[in-house]
């Protein structure tokens, strides 16, 4: 395999323990045959299941009141309507199905907020695959409902106690499991991260977002958008929303990262009070790939922070690093408060409660609508039911312009 195939410019690659390399070769081969060449009708089955089980296509909705507010045409890509409540199923179902075609007997996955874990558990139940999910103990405790959902779908949930006991550690633990069980097990990675071929494969499963949106906007607005805006954690909804538009040079692509409480870093404590990897990170290797990272000068990975658990990750997909390095994608960031306001604004103005992750993309409208041209597509990557408790807590701490009176929530 030549260098250019496993990476995007200088990003990507396969930085994993030797024990996993044969599995990556096997996966690469399966990806090539089933996903790229539709062997045994894999893609047909995948698309049919995403239609009937997953609820695709999702609508592209003109947001009347946001359009009014921002003086331009704002369209929402409604990934919140996918089964499970987020774009995550596009990838999870694709990979679990692929694992089945590969003859694997067991699925493992990491999860942070629990969205990828629930999507994987749903897909595994649907396709009758035993499934174990690794989740940091901290996240287990703050994302109970998602733990319950995974258990209801028959998945085992393994709490991880190491370090800060969040997503980063859950990935470490999943990689360790995989290194032990690689012969029979497929690791369903949750974003466009990890070693090749994961970033390409996950992107391809998520690309349906932009493939649909590109057709829909032309049918509904009669033209391509001036810009596409998506939040970026690992970057799977981002690459999903961008991919089909990458060749359209007139379409600006904005990856909105979590600005957290500040873009400054506390190197001493190893803490970044944000997850703005593309905007502020430096090149390095984490979880199998060369990419932008939040790291100390020595190379230790920082604890990142965001009010949105799903964006709270110190790395980012290598293809996004590459698209930023080549100026095709513009990295921007939105802080916790702006995201919370955007959450409340969409809920009140449009009757859609967005995920806190997606609220970052929406928050960028408020910050910089004038840069976005006349027709804007915003990816609503998920619904916010999972975030209600967090939003209540975080709203109580602040004086948010867009929030309803919190008092009445008396708990």
């Amino acid at each position: 395999m030549s260098e250019s195939e496993t990476s995007f410019g200088r990003y990507g690659g396969q930085y994993v323990p030797e024990a996993l390399m044969p599995a990556l070769e096997e996966l690469e081969d399966a990806y090539q045959r089933y996903v790229l060449e539709n062997e045994d009708g894999f893609l047909d089955e995948f698309e049919e299941r995403m239609r009937e089980f997953g609820g695709r296509p999702t609508p592209l909705q003109r947001a009347d009141r946001l359009s009014e507010r921002y003086g331009r045409e704002v369209y929402l890509k409604r990934e919140d309507l996918v089964h499970g409540g987020a774009h995550k199923l596009n990838n999870a179902l694709g990979q679990v199905l692929l694992a089945k075609y590969m003859g694997k007997e067991r699925i493992i996955a990491e999860t942070g907020a629990g969205q990828h874990g629930t999507a994987t558990a749903m897909a595994a139940a649907h396709l009758e695959m035993p499934c174990e999910i690794y989740m940091g103990r901290t996240d287990v405790n703050r994302q109970r409902p998602n733990v319950y959902r995974m258990r209801m779908n028959g998945a085992a949930v393994n709490p991880v106690d190491a370090g800060s006991a969040t997503l980063k550690e859950a990935i470490n633990a999943t990689l360790r499991d995989w290194a032990t069980t690689v012969e029979t097990t497929h690791y369903v990675i949750g974003s466009v991260v990890g070693p090749h071929p994961f970033p390409k494969m996950v992107r391809d499963f998520q690309a349906v977002i932009s493939e649909e949106a590109r057709e829909q906007i032309q049918a509904q607005a009669g033209r391509l958008p001036d810009s596409v805006v998506a939040c970026a954690g690992g970057g799977s909804n981002t690459m999903g929303a961008f991919h089909a538009f990458v060749p359209d040079e007139s379409v600006a692509l904005y990856a909105v990262e979590a600005g957290g409480s500040s873009l400054d870093i506390d190197e001493e404590a190893g803490l970044a009070p944000n997850s703005a990897t593309l905007s502020t990170g430096t090149d390095g290797v984490l979880h199998g790939a060369m990419t932008k990272l939040l790291q100390s000068g020595d190379g230790q990975i920082m604890e990142s922070h965001s009010v949105s658990a799903g964006l709270d990750y110190a790395g980012v997909g290598p293809e996004l690093s590459h698209l930023v390095a080549t100026d095709r994608v513009t990295p921007v960031s939105v802080d916790d408060e702006t995201a919370l306001n955007a959450f409340h604004r969409l809920s009140r103005l449009e009757g859609i409660i967005p995920a806190l992750e997606s609220s970052h993309a929406l928050g960028y409208l408020e910050d910089a609508a004038e840069d976005l041209g006349e027709v804007v597509v915003v990816n609503v990557s998920g619904r916010g039911d999972k975030d209600l408790e967090t939003v209540l807590e975080e709203t109580e701490k602040r004086d948010l312009e867009a929030a309803p009176d919190v008092e009445v929530f008396e708990r």
Binding site: R10, Y15, R176
Partner: protein, 282 residues
Amino acid sequence: MTDSDIERAIREHHPALITYITAGDPSLEETKAYVEALDRGGSDLIELGLPFSEPIAEGPTIQAAINRSLAAGTTPRRFFEMVDDLETDAPLLVMTYYNMVLQYGSSGESRDGPDVRPFVERAAEAGLSGIIVPDLPAEESGPLKAACEEFGLDLVFIVAPTTAGERLETIMSQASGFVYVQARLGTTGARADVSGATHESLERLAAYDASADGVPKAVGFGVSEADHAAEIVTAGADGVIVGSALIDLIADADDPAAALEAKARELKGGAEAGLADAPTKQ
């Protein structure tokens, strides 16, 4: 090709005992004392772990040691300064993750991304003889391999139970110092039931003998007792690698230095005992 320090140490002291501890656990000062103890106890090569925050190849024991080390403030700079001061008979290797190698001295990041040369140069300067990077497979090792050759260090590759066919040949052809034969799938960690898995890995070892160009092979992952060492050597290994069992001593023993020295002696004895039953070789 002239033998490296590492290869020479293994051949001269065959069957070799290779020991691992995490530098900075619980402090770099103590690490110095422990390294000297292991050296006295008969270690023929000593691996020093430079801690990385995401040690994906390690089991719970070494993870904990790494966390203790990081909490104690271990940095690459201090690590190298500690190594500067070490005087041992046994050659030393550094074991760390690729990002640590990449970032060292890379603050003025080049247009092509971070560079591995500063790390290797400093390692050579500190007197280290080799580098092991568990998350760097052969496919990605080009830049580091080149730097190691430039500065005269061995880059040690790991061969896993799943490694086979073309990949195995590629790795064996690039190997220098020794080949790290991973006894079983999974992560590092002392295990009671080593023998079964070891057996399998040693069958593969026999196969390598035909294809290998003479680079020594050492077996690690899960080795903790003298009789494991004996078994492994009997089955044809040139060395045994022991890590987690030593970390346990550092964490639990009243006098860790003495305990490490005794344990090294015991393991070395086991390895030598195993040689009696080994297929004739050298």
